[in-house]
Symmetry: C2
Subunit: 428 residues, 2 copies
């Protein structure tokens, strides 16, 4: 049995746990539920099997109790539980051999039914640590941050981009005309809205052809090609066809709504794709906004990096979304960190971003390895989209050089106008 134990290799997950039980006890329930099973000693559960397969509680760090439960719990109500509700950070160690190189099963193991447990009134997966030799079995990002730079040929500043607006309703020709304007504005990156897929009034094929014709033409002029993230979200066979269409027309990026296509499809897309994958996280709020439930972005981005995306949304500072600035910065830093041998990816800042946010963003990150998307901040610029793009480039220059934004704007009309128009406030 010691030979089994010595061969056992583990990975660990970290949880926020809230329970009416002592946290140590809740932690053991979690470890049991997510490995060999119930508390019952079952016929087939030998000591050897337990040694090989049972998850183990590595550490428990107690936090302050709460008087009221964070989440509803009919199981506890039936027991007449009144509290207090204990809280703690629990680290659990799982045998790698329980899972194998299988992303859906990794999710089922670290999360699975845990959110449903009657033993807890709060459960959030905070982090995941995987050994390099295990992550090496997953595809991982093919391009990542560095590859996104090589493909766009944008260096020394963020990749500056925008979202095609209106979000939905434009014909292929209208879309191409807008892309023409944006390419003429020397933009780096353009993306579909997540609502825009393959609708009857603007089929993807017609849209890709019309848009890429414009983009390819500007590439001759610019000496680099504007990266367009076409939303190819669909069933996986259609996604592969859509990808092939994009590549055939000279496109350099595909986008997918990661939550709504899913890990099994994104992994397959990654193995097929010849271009960077832009990961749109719409829907993430449902699994993240309650601080006592779901998945922290830190673990979320690791799981999507295993699947192989190259770019992932993180919201932006002072955006129109609920998320606070510290949380946005923590998300971006997580994307930029190495993770078990997998390439850093590009965090994508968006929602209400204008020339006003770069200084605070850079001050917090000390890096420009990111994508910075502005909708109104580019297209709503008083002097038009070219000045909009220019204002963002200048705002990032000021940020990197450590010069006060208003001072930097004195001799730069595009930036000056942007600050006057958008002020300190963000804009959609």
């Amino acid at each position: 049995m010691s030979s089994v134990a010595s061969r056992r290799r583990d990975f660990t997950a970290r949880y926020l746990v809230e329970s009416f039980e002592p946290i140590e006890k809740a932690a053991e329930v979690i470890a049991g539920e997510q490995s060999s099973g119930t508390f019952l000693q079952l016929p087939g559960e030998t000591a050897d099997l337990k040694q090989r397969s049972r998850a183990r509680v590595v550490s428990v760090e107690l936090l302050e109790d709460r008087a009221t439960p964070s989440l509803p719990n009919a199981f506890a109500d039936r027991k007449g539980t009144t509290g207090p509700y204990h809280r703690g950070i629990v680290e659990v160690s799982f045998p790698i051999d329980n899972v194998g190189p299988n992303l859906p099963n990794l999710y089922a193991t670290i999360a699975g039914n845990l959110f449903e447990l009657g033993d807890v009134t709060g459960l959030r997966v905070l982090d995941l640590d995987l050994p390099d030799e295990y992550t090496a079995q997953f595809p991982g990002p093919a391009f990542g941050a560095d590859g996104t730079r090589s493909v766009t040929q944008v260096y020394g500043r963020p990749v500056i981009g925008t979202i095609i607006k209106p979000s939905i309703g434009l014909s292929p020709e209208d879309t191409a005309a807008l892309v023409d304007t944006l390419c003429a504005a020397d933009i780096d990156f353009i993306k579909d809205d997540e609502l825009m897929g393959n609708p009857p009034y603007a089929p993807l094929e017609a849209r890709v052809k019309a848009v890429m014709k414009v983009v390819n033409r500007h590439a001759d002029r610019m000496g680099r090609k504007v990266m367009v993230a076409f939303n190819i979200s669909d069933d996986i066979d259609a996604m592969r066809r859509h990808h092939d269409l994009v590549v055939r027309e000279g496109g350099t990026c595909v986008m997918a709504s990661v939550n709504w296509t899913g890990p099994a499809a994104i992994t397959a897309l990654r193995r097929h794709s010849e271009v960077p994958i832009h990961g749109h996280r719409n829907g993430f709020g449902m699994m993240n906004r309650d601080p006592a439930l779901g998945l922290d972005f830190r673990v979320y981005q690791k799981l999507w990096r295993l699947a192989g995306i190259d770019q992932l949304h993180v919201n932006g500072l002072k955006s129109k979304f609920w998320e606070g600035d510290e949380s946005v910065i923590a998300s971006a830093k997580a994307c930029m960190e190495p993770f078990a041998g997998s390439k850093p990816i590009m965090p994508v800042f968006s929602s209400g971003q204008t020339a006003a946010q770069p200084p605070a963003t850079y001050a917090a990150l000390q890096s420009t390895d990111l994508m910075f998307l502005a909708g109104g901040g580019i297209i709503g610029h008083p002097s038009g989209p070219k000045a909009g793009v220019q204002s963002l480039v200048e705002a990032w220059q000021a940020a990197v050089e450590g010069v006060d934004l208003t001072e930097y704007a004195h001799s730069r009309p595009a930036l000056r106008e942007a600050l006057a128009a958008f002020g300190g406030r963000g804009r959609g």
Copy 2:
């Protein structure tokens, strides 16, 4: 323009909305965000486009205000919002042509970034109504409840099943031995635990072969074949290979963790599969347990029916999970209802189920079109698994015949022992 309007066909989604703004205003933000876009009048957003693409608020039903917000909101904090927090049920109508027959895009449209909005402090998708001619474009369940009955040849009572335990760690031979015992107990259905996939110590191929050899042998004796739901969750190409293996060995069901494989993969699996798809919802708690966030099961099961699953987990009465009995019953009823031309599917009751729960379950549902899974309730029966299965069959007979369970047990030792052993309490 009236011709455009007359051609516009819509579907509707219903939301619980909580906001510091009047609900009518928050409703308009939602309709805008999820269709033509921002509040800004953009260059390309013509009146015709708006008429064709803009989502519309159909109705707003006000609920009681709350003094405190359900969800955190840094956006509101920056504005110094103090409440009250208004609540309402909002119905929004979307043009079908915004989406097309594309499941990931349907998710992005009805949910998407809504959970992230700074305008709300609560957002839950409650329901979705789709016209028949739209749902007809999605695969839908190939088997559903009726097909599950034809394949298992179980009529007039629930399909009775169990989960292989220990959840993880058994070798293919150990698993086959356990399946042999369960088949000898005349069970209808056996499923893998969601943690069990294709691990190095028990590769799926070896496990399927060993298990199906046993199942096929018992089928000769029983005149029907025990349905085994093998967990084939993996990347989609592997899932199709796993499916083919299961079918080649005579298997009649495949199982997938729907949240961790995802809509794009399940749709593709459905188009490929020759057997019913057992949908495991592990992870659903993260998008459902906070009552002010995420997806109600009612809409969740509709979306998975569009993808094409045939069976879906709903927990069980008095289970070890957090969910209350009313919610479980509502979930089961939702699966049993027709939905826009798509077949009813089988709700799967599990977690702590024993012979004690059938009367209350049947009283609430007035139907046996369900799967009823017990772990300890079968394998932990004092007289062994055969008596365990028998006790469940008898408990369902009592429920359907409207006879008191204890009275029914007088002349039935398997049921009597089960009630004595498990009492009114459920058991893992």
